[in-house]
């Protein structure tokens, strides 16, 4: 028993400990079978097809409604589209033709799906090519219904942890959540749609574990540690007992955090700080409010570029920004202009391979060659600004002249809008990220021209310590508590305050409660963290007394 224990290491998605029975989620594609079990008279098979078609369409409708309530409109639309695909005439014709040609029903459906998928896969448009997967998914559902199976795992008899190469948001939504404890995937990314959903459903989970455990282990006990990303299959008795304790502690912790809902972010000595959220998609606005965040401290606008087949239009961007501002109902919203490049590459930008992408052609540096990218985004932002309290944040500024250049573009955009009679908020603040040692060193100069600073501690640490975040071999040298980083933060705050400007911290450091006393003692005005960390951070703030913090100990001087 003891020697069966396997530990996998992935990336944590949502905190918490999940303990359950391991179950593999089958990939959505139906396999071709030897002999189709659904051969009957052509008439009977056609009738059966229409029956299951109705049932699956109804199921899609239920899923769309569930998604609308739990995730948002855009997720709901995926299922609404699936419903139309199920009921589509081209699919129907192909299935009927297959039956008339003497095929069994399952084969007829599978081949119809493959035909439509092939048609879509051959298209030029990247977006439509991606819909080929939807066509196959829809046919897989029809076949599952034919076999009397429910897709996903809508009925679970025991507390379960799902394992799959990847999980779709649909599969999570379809699962029986009274029994679904958590999940882990071989692939996947922490910023994916699925990950966002896992966080809003508070499902402890890990992605990118590499290889899934052997199929023969299905039915074994499995633990997902959502704090570290570790997955332990068939734990020995001692390990299991240890994790049961951890699970109880994590739950108690969460309950305690709940008691901080609605309270001000004020220290024992009366210093009040803003606690806002980092988000990467408009849909996460719900999660900000659900976790009692004070607004959005960093909206990464990259997803608009990453998920679009071409540069997103002004109109597309305007709708996203406007919706976010409206959803936040007057709470402050800081939107960062596109930070494409480095580890976030987009094909149509045509950046090409670079030796050192982190030190390369990225964000504002691209905009300087192609100002229309920035101007389109600024127009969309200013137009949306009348719907809430917007600030604009510019990444990768290392010299004052770069900021001047951006300010000039912003002025041009505002002049254009005024000439066209389009309304915008004249008080929109324009701030910059402090994420390079250069920007920190000349923060006294930058503070004169920027309206506010936001310290991006992840890049700042990587650049200051010369440690590539993507390189696992040098992980132990990536120390965000390094006095070099903390000294820079102290200097930046001092320089900003001398010019009467606000400073917030939006990197991972902001949620590190062992540093909260330090950040508050040096006078940081705002902390921006992922939504699930808001209440925990508030607790740390309320327990802190700034007069008792030894700043020198952190700075090593």
């Amino acid at each position: 028993m003891e020697d069966k224990m396997i530990t996998l290491r992935g990336k944590p998605v949502m905190e918490g400990i999940a303990i359950g029975i391991l179950r593999f989620l089958e990939a959505g594609e139906p396999a071709a079978e030897d002999g189709d079990p659904y051969i009957g008279s052509a008439e009977a098979m056609k009738q059966r097809f229409y029956e299951i078609r109705e049932a699956v369409a109804a199921e899609c409708e239920v899923l769309a409604e569930r998604a609308r309530v739990e995730v948002g409109q855009s997720e709901a639309e995926i299922f609404a589209t699936h419903r139309l695909m199920v009921l589509d005439g081209d699919l129907e014709d192909a299935v009927i033709a297959g039956i008339d040609a003497g095929k069994g029903l399952a084969d007829a459906i599978r081949e119809a799906g493959e035909g439509l998928a092939a048609m879509l896969a051959a298209m030029e448009d990247e977006y439509l090519r991606a819909r080929a997967a939807d066509a196959k998914d829809v046919c897989a559902r029809l076949i599952a219904a034919l076999r009397g199976e429910r897709t996903g795992v809508s009925r679970l008899d025991v507390p379960t942890v799902l394992a799959a190469v990847d999980v779709t948001p649909a599969e999570l939504l379809q699962s029986d959540r009274t029994q679904l404890m958590g999940f882990f995937t071989a692939d996947g990314a922490t910023g994916s749609h699925t990950a966002i959903l896992a966080r809003s459903l508070a499902l402890p989970s890990a992605v990118a574990v590499g290889e899934l455990p052997d199929r023969s282990l299905e039915g074994e006990t499995v633990i997902v540690d959502g704090f570290t990303g570790e997955v332990i299959v068939a734990p020995d008795t001692r390990t299991l007992a240890l994790y049961c304790e951890k699970q109880a502690a994590a739950r108690a912790e969460r309950q305690l955090e709940e008691t901080f809902r609605g309270l001000p972010n004020r220290t024992q000595d009366g210093y009040e700080v803003q606690v806002v959220c980092n988000i990467g998609r408009g849909e996460e606005a719900a999660s900000v409010l659900q976790n009692d965040g004070g607004g959005v401290g960093l909206f990464r606008s990259e997803f608009l570029y990453l998920e679009s087949p071409d540069f997103p239009s002004e109109e597309t961007q305007y709708r996203v920004y406007r919706r976010l501002l409206e959803d936040m109902g007057g709470r402050p919203v800081v939107i960062r202009t596109m930070d494409v490049g480095a580890d976030k590459q987009v094909g149509y930008f045509g950046i090409g391979r670079e030796e050192n992408p982190a030190l390369g052609y990225r964000s504002i540096r691209i905009c300087m060659d192609r100002p229309e990218i920035l101007c389109t985004q600024l127009r969309a932002l200013y137009r949306a600004s009348v719907f809430g309290k917007l600030s604009i944040l510019i990444p990768m500024i290392v010299s004052p002249w770069e900021l001047c250049w951006v300010r000039e573009r912003a002025q041009e955009v505002r002049d254009e809008l005024r000439a066209e009679g389009i309304a915008f908020d004249p008080d929109v603040k324009l701030g910059i990220m402090i994420e390079t040692p250069a920007a920190a060193a000349i923060s006294d100069l930058l503070a004169k021209d920027a309206d506010f600073f936001s310290i991006g501690t992840n890049d700042l640490t990587q650049y200051a310590l010369a440690v590539d975040r993507q390189n696992p071999r040098i992980e132990r040298f990536y120390d965000s508590h390094h006095p070099a980083i903390l000294r820079m933060i102290a200097t930046v705050v001092e320089n900003a305050h001398r010019e009467g400007k606000r400073v917030s911290v939006c990197g991972e450091l902001a949620r590190d409660t062992s540093l909260t006393p330090f950040l508050l003692a040096v006078g940081v005005d705002g902390l921006s963290v992922s939504p699930p960390y808001v209440l925990r951070l508030r607790r740390a703030i309320r327990e802190c007394d700034r007069s008792r913090v030894e700043i020198g100990e952190f700075l090593k001087k």
Binding site: L84, D88, G89, D125, P309, E315, T316
Partner: protein, 85 residues
């Protein structure tokens, strides 16, 4: 027979969502409805066929409605295209 042209302004063109909306709307009418782009024609009730037109921003669609409620169908589709595509 009622027919009209519409120039697409949505940067994504006829992707799944608008195709779904057109198909759903077309099903509300008894008239025969086709959507054409150049020499390609799709049945307005068919989602996959509409996506297969691969119509993009700037492309001109010709919508043809033929049947008893053709006028109402053409009006409804024009309104839908203007609002969503």
């Amino acid at each position: 027979m009622k027919t009209f042209d519409y120039t697409i302004t949505d940067p994504l063109g006829i992707h799944a969502r608008p195709a779904g909306m057109i198909a759903a709307k077309a099903k509300e009418f008894s008239a025969e409805i086709t959507v054409a782009k150049g020499d390609k024609t799709a049945d307005g009730r068919r989602l996959f066929a509409l996506m297969g037109l691969s119509a993009k921003e700037g492309d001109i669609l010709t919508v043809t409605c033929n049947g008893e409620d053709e006028a109402a169908a053409a009006d409804a589709l024009r309104t839908l295209l203007e609002a969503n595509l």
